[in-house]
Amino acid sequence: MDIFFFLVFAAIALISAVNVVLQRHPIASALSLIGVMGSIAVLYLLLGAEFIAMAQIIVYAGAVMVLFIFVIMLLNAGAEERRGRSWTSQLLGIPALLAFVALIVYFVQRGFADAGNVKFGNFTGGSAQSVGYALFTAYLLPFEVTSVLILVAIVGAIVLARKEMD
């Protein structure tokens, strides 16, 4: 069963990702991205990361992507024109990318071939309780620092996007 669910949702994720890249209208790309995030959330559940899965849905799919869609609608971004290609990125980038993937796959096969299997339920340490516990004891400092980071981001976003006072 694990394999079945994995394959289904991996396929959805991949197809949605390809869609993100290939669609011409940004709104279509955004919706595909939401699909990717949803399927990844399911994969998290399969991996026993309940808290993270919920956070993924709430934060990523619920807040960040909504922000994206707001901005797309605000800017009235239309479909992309077919104009001007950067040959550097295509001539060099695509082969580099393929090499990159090939290398990673190769190293993963070499290093993790016998690393154990993921069965649903064999890892229970991903509950909100355990994450919260770790977050407030061992990782308290990074937690507090990220609160500052969020504050900075809020201020930055407001300053950058406001209208100039005359």
């Binding site: 069963m1 694990d2 394999i3 079945f4 994995f6 991996a10 994720a13 991949l14 990702a17 993100v20 890249v21 991205l33 990717v36 990844i40 994969l43 990361a49 993270i52 956070a55 993924q56 934060v59 990523y60 960040v64 922000l67 994206f68 901005v71 797309i72 605000l74 971004a77 992309e80 104009r83 001007g84 990125s89 295509q90 980038g93 695509i94 990318l97 990159f100 993937v101 990673i104 796959v105 993963v108 071939a113 690393a115 154990g116 299997n117 993921v118 069965k119 649903f120 890892f123 340490g125 991903g126 355990s130 994450v131 770790a134 977050l135 990074p142 980071l149 969020i150 976003a157 996007a161």
Partner: protein, 110 residues
């Protein structure tokens, strides 16, 4: 057949998760390199971050520790902050240059 079913019940090898993560990451990079609209490029960045998150959680499962989840949590926080600020920047750029074409924002040209 019972061996195949047995194999089926054994769970998913970690390496598959990692390969999936790599593929998603590669797709994100491809989108970054090929698309011209700034917002789409930004969305590909989010795709890359998600791929990395998947990788972290898979490792966390492998080592039966919660540290990977914590890291994923922080990556999500940073990604959200970055998305907010980045979109604010895109708004400013659009206000100044009235274009969303990434190739036209090249005033750092030599």
């Amino acid at each position: 057949m019972p061996e195949a079913l047995q194999a089926l019940n054994n769970g998913v090898p970690i390496s598959w998760y990692l390969v999936l993560s790599a593929l998603l990451f590669a797709l994100g990079v491809a989108g970054f390199l090929l698309r011209r609209n700034i917002i789409t490029v930004f969305m590909c960045i989010e795709l890359m971050l998600n791929a990395v998150n998947l990788s972290f959680v898979a490792f966390s499962n492998q080592h039966k520790q919660v540290a990977g989840h914590i890291f994923t949590f922080f990556v999500m926080v940073v990604a959200a902050a970055e998305a907010a600020v980045g979109l604010a920047i895109i708004l400013t750029v659009f206000k100044n240059r009235a274009t969303l074409n990434i190739d036209e924002i090249s005033s750092l040209k030599n």
